[in-house]
């Protein structure tokens, strides 16, 4: 976009504007008072505001036009050009020019200070507006450049494209549903309400650890037909564990799921699954 402005301002004002260049589609009178290299057709003033990304951008443009290092800004010259530019803009699009006007004030301040004799003591305490301006210009210039660099990075849908191939036929998969503990308990509640198991004392007293141990003993008996009674108890589980195993064994006997066998008095006691025993 800056290039377009350069193009317009670079062309001699005497030359008629090229009809296919939107910046030059001007029917109004040219502002002859403006410096030649800053000539902007009045109707293009709105474009001007959109072309420059703000006062810092405009200043950078002016500095570059004069082939100046930011650090060597000739404040007087830049200020004059800037003011000319802004007064033209202000006339046309007053409401848009606020940021530019602030900058104009800053420039005017810097210029006026330079005309005054330097007072060392005073200056040390204040922020030097020229140094501050240069700092801002440098800062802005870095990110203006960074924006252009980002624009130059290879990007999707312009410089490269996603490689994708059509899918083959995919077998349908049945992943496992998740179950929250709460769902399980709600299901149990439903069962209990329907079966009215709450009335049964039996259910209330029953310890789940006993039930669990019953399952364990039964599954052990699936592998081995016989187990010694002692093997059901392990000392590491402590007294509670022994009690649980004993209760589980009694429950299994009561439900006729296992039987206890002893060949002789004082001979080792064995247990076996009733179902296994009968096959």
């Amino acid at each position: 976009m800056t290039d377009e402005i350069t193009e317009v301002s670079g062309s001699e004002p005497e030359q008629p504007a090229e009809p296919d260049n939107p910046l030059a589609l001007v029917s109004g009178k040219p502002l002859v008072d403006l410096p030649k290299d800053l000539y902007i057709p009045p109707d293009a003033l709105a474009v001007f505001l959109e072309t420059f990304e703000g006062p810092l951008d405009l200043l950078l443009y002016l500095i570059r036009r004069q082939n100046m290092d930011i650090l060597d800004i000739d404040v007087s010259e830049i200020t004059r050009q800037y003011m000319d530019y802004i007064s033209a803009v202000e006339a046309m699009r007053f409401e848009l020019a606020a940021e530019y006007l602030v900058m104009a004030a800053t420039l005017a301040e810097i210029k006026s200070r330079m005309l005054l004799p330097r007072q060392e003591a005073e200056d040390d305490e204040e922020v030097d507006p020229r140094a501050e301006l240069i700092r801002r210009l440098q800062q802005y210039e870095r990110y203006k450049q960074a924006a252009e660099d980002i624009d130059d990075l290879p990007r999707m849908d312009r410089d490269t494209f996603y490689g994708s191939a059509a899918l083959p036929q995919l077998p349908s998969s049945q992943p496992y549903p998740d179950v929250a503990m709460r769902e399980l308990l709600l299901a149990m509640q439903g069962v209990l309400q329907r079966a009215d198991l709450f009335t049964s004392h039996h259910v209330e007293k029953e310890k789940l650890s006993t039930r669990e141990r019953m399952s364990q003993i039964l599954s052990l008996l699936q592998g081995d037909r016989y187990l010694t009674f002692e093997s059901l108890f392990s000392p590491e589980e402590g007294r509670l564990g022994v009690v649980v195993s004993f209760l589980a064994t009694l429950e299994l006997v009561k439900e006729s799921l296992i039987e206890i066998v002893q060949a002789d008095v004082f001979a080792p006691i064995h247990i076996r699954a009733r179902a296994n025993a009968s096959d």
Partner: protein, 203 residues
């Protein structure tokens, strides 16, 4: 035509087919070239044969379908590709959850006993699903006519619900006050991990 020129054409055609996202006909492929460098139909067809050969040991192949050519992931890799698109799993039925709950609380239990308590038959599907997931297993057979299998929950079941043992399930007497449990759990059970915490408050 020089070999390296053909190789370049092959690469361009491959790029076109991978980016297009739809089949391209021979003429559509040719249209991607400026007029002064546009390959003839004959050359384009030759290039397509070259491309098909070049996909021999790759993850994809060149397919000729009704509307043109496309590159397609090889069928043999479908099992791996499928995992990328696994859908959200469905939910388990109420019947399944009730069956699971009964096996957990009343194990070892036969199917007949579950049916007796629930008052409805338990479908074989439910038992199979629970077995496939390795949440329940047969731990023996009841010594009655028909010798029905007795089911119990597994270690995997406990692991899934973050339990060290069945006694960490709330006792049935407390399930009575499930309204309260429900509230407690709503609060605490954002994830299964936090279940332990809510368990504590229940006991």
């Amino acid at each position: 035509m020089k070999e390296d020129h053909l190789l370049r054409l092959r690469a361009i055609v491959e790029a076109l087919l991978l980016a297009a996202g739809k089949p391209l006909s021979v003429d559509q492929l040719r249209d991607a070239f400026a007029e002064d460098e546009r390959p003839t139909r004959q050359i384009m067809e030759h290039v397509l044969v070259m491309l098909a050969d070049a996909c021999e040991d790759r993850g994809f192949e060149l397919k000729n379908v009704a509307s043109g050519y496309r590159l397609q992931v090889r069928q043999e890799f479908a099992p791996w590709v499928r995992t990328l698109f696994e859908e959200k799993p469905q939910r388990y039925s109420r019947a399944l959850l009730e069956t699971l709950a009964l096996i957990a609380y009343r194990q070892p239990i036969t199917r007949g006993e579950i049916e007796e308590i629930r008052g409805v038959t338990v479908s074989s599907n439910i038992i199979r699903t629970l077995s496939e997931r390795e949440w329940v297993r047969v731990v023996g057979h009841r010594d009655v006519p028909g010798r029905p299998a007795m089911y119990a929950t597994t270690r995997q079941f406990l692991d899934y619900f973050n339990l060290t043992g069945l006694d960490e399930l709330p006792p049935l007497s407390e399930i009575r006050d499930l309204e309260e449990i429900g509230r407690e759990m709503e609060k605490n059970m954002q994830g299964e991990i936090e279940f332990d915490a809510s368990e504590k408050t229940l006991h």
